[in-house]
Symmetry: none
């Protein structure tokens, strides 16, 4: 009976015909599959016993068909490895896309925004994954709650309270696939609540501002002066997106008077503060600045991420929402944007087991050493260049003589050194005078490449 063609056919997608007998039909179907490339070179075929059982035919018939095709050169049989599709030229399918040109990879990468990927704690992560996946209830593997797994929301609520002074409950936490996804969720929610203008900082990531614009929200930059972002000019905005713990990219911490001002504004006007705490774990010279959210959990959305502390590839971030926004944001997120549950469960285990704290502590030490090496190298090799914003984080701002930013970046590109200039991170409506500067991501290179990157940087500095 043909019943087991299902089992066989799905795996090999053969259409053997009855004409000419079973052996002939099977041989023809297999040969056709190999010739057209549907069975790729190196593919291992089922054993003759398995296939015969699946097909309900004699094992010998399968063995003979395999033998015929080995003799013809379509298959290879090796003791201990079974029967494989032979390596041979295959007629390519029609309509393949042209290969995308791989851009030349720079030798040294000091672009900010990425931690040292080589230090991702693979073994620790796998241990946590084993515990998390083995112990998970079966229903964890289903479509899930847009807010995220309860295990992770509980672990984050505990960690953020302890490490960042965030005031919340697991019900206030919403897991998302990166800060940008969080912002994409918040934009339409703000718009639906009547917001039209979001105050942003004079410096920041244009792609964040674009996400707000895409939601129909205007962005208006707050002034930036020698004390940092000035939060006293919020009139006319219904929300404010800021980086209070470590301004991106300038590196300043929001002054306490200005912290108070933005919270006071939110309370008075019913405005909402979006606190982007992208690298709050990494502070070197003083106690970390606690999250602004702790001042007023009803008017601040706290946004954190694993992209700097662990790796961007995890695509895991979190929002801590005022109670009034939880339902709306969960509905706006919906199931389309759910994150994979296995990584969520693993991060929960990673946090509660203490592995996250250990990893952050080790990473902080490593980045601090790099920061110190950068400062020392600048003092010795480029004393004209002042590094600012270096008390925390994974990047520094190097102030350059006026008018030299573009030429330094071009010189760096010639030397295989990827760098970002500050001008690319300045809001087009900012009233602050433009500054020439580099934004150097000293967390980006792997350890073995750091010294070389630093050397290359020193060579291109004026």
């Amino acid at each position: 009976m043909a019943k087991s063609w299902a089992t066989f056919g799905v795996d090999l997608h053969l259409e053997p015909t009855g004409a000419g007998g079973l052996r002939r039909g099977l041989t023809d179907a297999l040969r056709d599959a190999v010739r057209t490339g549907r069975l790729a070179p190196g593919t291992r075929l089922p054993s003759s016993r398995t296939l015969a059982a699946d097909l309900g035919i004699a094992r010998n018939t399968v063995a003979e068909a395999y033998g015929d095709l080995v003799a013809e050169g379509w298959l290879t049989a090796r003791q201990g490895s079974g029967t494989l599709v032979a390596e041979r030229p295959v007629v390519p399918p029609t309509g393949t896309a042209p290969r995308r040109r791989e851009p030349g990879r720079p030798t040294h990468n000091l672009v900010p925004g990425t931690p040292d990927l080589a230090s991702f704690p693979r073994a620790e992560w796998l241990r946590a994954a084993r515990r998390a996946v083995t112990g998970a209830p079966s229903d964890a593997f289903g479509y899930g709650d847009p807010r995220g797994r309860p295990e992770l929301r509980a672990a984050l609520a505990g960690y953020l309270s302890r490490a960042r002074g965030v005031r919340t409950h697991p019900d206030g936490v919403l897991v998302c696939a990166g800060f940008s996804q969080g912002l994409r969720i918040l934009g339409p929610v703000l718009r639906a609540r009547g917001a039209r203008t979001v105050a942003v900082e004079s410096y920041g990531l244009p792609r964040h501002w674009e996400l707000l614009t895409a939601a129909g929200l205007g962005t208006r930059p707050l002034p930036y002066d020698e004390l940092g972002t000035d939060t006293r000019e919020l009139a006319g905005a219904q929300a404010a997106l800021i980086t209070p713990s470590h301004q991106f990219p300038m590196g300043t911490a929001l002054r306490s008077g200005r912290r108070a001002a933005v919270v006071e504004w939110a309370r008075r006007t019913g405005g909402l503060v979006l606190e982007d705490d992208y690298d709050g774990e990494f502070r070197y010279d003083r106690q970390p600045v606690g999250a602004l959210q702790g001042l007023d959990p009803d008017h601040v959305v706290y946004l954190g991420t694993a992209s700097k502390s662990l790796a961007p590839g995890l695509r895991l971030a979190w929002m801590v929402l005022p109670p009034a926004l939880v339902e709306e944001c969960a509905a706006a997120k919906g199931q389309v944007d759910n994150c994979g549950v296995l990584d969520q469960l693993t991060l929960a285990e990673f946090l509660t087991s203490g592995a996250y704290d250990r990893h952050v502590r080790a990473a902080r030490l490593r980045y601090r050493r790099r920061r110190d090496a950068l400062v020392a190298a600048l003092a010795a090799r480029a004393p004209e260049v002042r590094a600012t914003g270096i008390a925390a984080g994974l990047h520094a701002v190097l102030r350059l003589p006026p008018g030299t930013e573009q030429s330094v970046i071009q010189a760096a590109a010639w030397q295989g050194l990827a760098l970002h200039g500050l001008s690319a991170l300045r809001h087009e409506a900012a009233v602050t005078d433009p500054l020439d500067a580099l934004v150097v991501g000293y967390g980006t290179p792997p350890d073995h490449a750091w010294a070389g990157a630093l050397e290359a940087l020193c060579r291109v500095l004026p």
Copy 2:
């Protein structure tokens, strides 16, 4: 599966994570089931290993719960016979009304769309994860390519070619976080290319149609007749979203003439076919229907998913795009929607190591047995009810006498059985005469609860 523990398994699923810990929750649920007579004296319980695997909890927890109840006298354990419900007087539940379940947590779940989550291959997946994460290059942990990891795109191109007859190259594959995300990406791309109307099927998932509507596209249902979806009436549409291998939910395969017709239409008009191949791996009675995409890779977008073959919680799906659409779709996806790289790398390893094929084979056998049990139970218990669409997939359509669908669903809800009616899956503009039917997801319950769910189903059928 022994019918004797049908009810039992279901009751365990009721509160497996109750307050007081897993062991306490399990013990309480079991004791309650014995005391009220829902577990009859003499009923043999599954082995602790089986039940632990089904529930996704530690075997020890089950063994301890059994031990507690043996000590209390509710169960008996005999060498060689396993664990049985003790012979003792049963206290009937208070009141005379049938026991009702908590709303929102039905005892039996036959809603289609979810595979058996308890059968997720945890150990195999973790093995693949260890190989994948250990062997990945460091830059895999970065923000990544919106198209997905190259390892996964290559593995999918090979698998889909071999198993589904899809013609592609890794460059044509775009990884996404579920079918719905794929559709959300495609909608605006179609709109930007001038599409205004997408032909859909008379039956399908309203949330898919809504994603198209949200992109500014109208949906117009194709006729559905006794031969299935009629693809000959595509005039006026610029794209068509169809389930050719296994119509959802009706279960028919698109007739070869109608397969040819839709491809011919796409060629002639420059239209685009969106092929939703949600459960192509699971075909039982004939050889699988190859993907429509193989007929014309330039005019068909193939969409597949790990949600049925592995688990929805992975949030991994894939599109195979015509070359002309690759860049646009990758740009439309962007980094905001990137999927976690660790699961991508693990799925690539799972596919290339053969673990995916082994899992699908085992799952196919399990679902096929359930399908057979469903058909046999219907023949014996509800001969008036005709099951259709049963040659493949994880669900069946049970045709009911006219006018009875809503009352059967309500009766089912009363008995704690979650069911979907066909009317909820009918396009509001469909011209097809409405049919009364149930869409029964026989893949949804865990193994230990399947027999009970089937029994409950038979009880509510007319």
